[in-house]
Symmetry: C2
DNA sequence: AAATTTGAGTTATAATATAACAAATCCTCT
DNA sequence: AGAGGATTTGTTATATTATAACTCAAATTT
């Protein structure tokens, strides 16, 4: 199992990603007069610390370690809050959660998920959304939310597979 | 709650849809030398009978009524088989299953799901797939499977909502 | 400070899905 | 037709993901 990659999800210093995400979240909550409580902040941090989307139950041990109640409702509430504020996304095809790359803007997101290393990347996919919107207009369908999750193999894992077959 | 619509998912005679789907499935299995056993056929029929995607557990009572074992593995196995043969799709955002509109061709499908009447429509979305493929190429990402599920309001339900607000 | 709102702790349970093994059925080959 | 092997189904148990309902604590408002 390949474990550590850089380029697909994060080009270099991941601690920087985490710090930036946390700062942005704090700012966003300040602006909206919402409370980024300790549990919520921890959950957001844990999610950002992983390059792989995490399941709700994956977060519980860390919550326990930090002295919080580690029953499911605690983490689901935090996740619900973070999702409502657009700070994390839920990946329906994985039952897992990941930090949002560009919070603040309300959007559904488009995700590429590597089936080898399980890392996931969110992209801004305006052309895609436009195409989808055209389809919807043809049907007279009014879009509320989109779930776009692409499973496949990331560049790093493709390379690794190619080498191992050589 | 609006319950009965026609145009969005099926223009007129739904029994015809069901019959056609079953015939196609039988033909496909004959061609591939696979066994469309009674359970599998019943599950496929049940799924096609509903305009709304059905959860696995929704199927169990009908299986019991028909004299089959109605424990979860039975229905999940049938669903697995039908999915593998491209006869049904699983909607990740709903944990539900629906019949495929154009089986035989291997594809991931693009689904429009009405949040009012819960009906769902599968479309062939070549432009969408092309756009997604372009995004993937930019990332050097090799696509295995796509999950595209669009939640919103179907034309019929839009109309109904507009009338009720009048 | 009292009242109100919001968030978190706690217990229990719902909803969805799979593991593992036994029994039955079907297919192939003689 | 019958033995042997493969596939399918039955059965029991359990894993995984998510929510309901109620209580208590903390924060915010009045
Ligand atoms: Zn996002
Ligand atoms: Zn990878
Ligand atoms: Zn299809
Ligand atoms: Zn509708």
């Amino acid at each position: 199992m390949p474990e550590s990659h850089q380029a697909f999800v994060c080009s270099s210093d991941h601690q920087h990603c985490i710090d930036e995400a946390l700062t942005a979240a704090k700012q966003l909550c300040r602006d909206k007069q919402l409370r980024l409580t300790p549990v919520r902040e921890l959950v957001l941090r844990l999610i950002w610390q992983s390059h792989k989307p995490l399941g709700a139950y994956d977060l519980l041990p860390a919550l326990a370690k930090a002295g919080f109640n580690s029953a499911p409702p605690t983490v689901y509430r935090a996740l619900e809050f973070l999702q409502e504020q657009g700070l994390v996304h839920r990946l329906a095809s994985l039952n897992a959660y990941m930090g949002c790359n560009h919070p603040g803007t309300s959007h559904s997101g488009c995700f590429f998920i590597c089936e080898e290393c399980h890392q996931a990347l969110e992209i801004e996919a305006s052309p895609l959304q436009t195409t989808l919107q055209r389809h919807a207009e043809e049907l007279n369908f009014s879009i509320t939310r989109e779930t776009i999750e692409v499973l496949g193999v990331c560049p790093e894992c493709q390379q690794q597979k190619a080498q191992s077959h050589a």
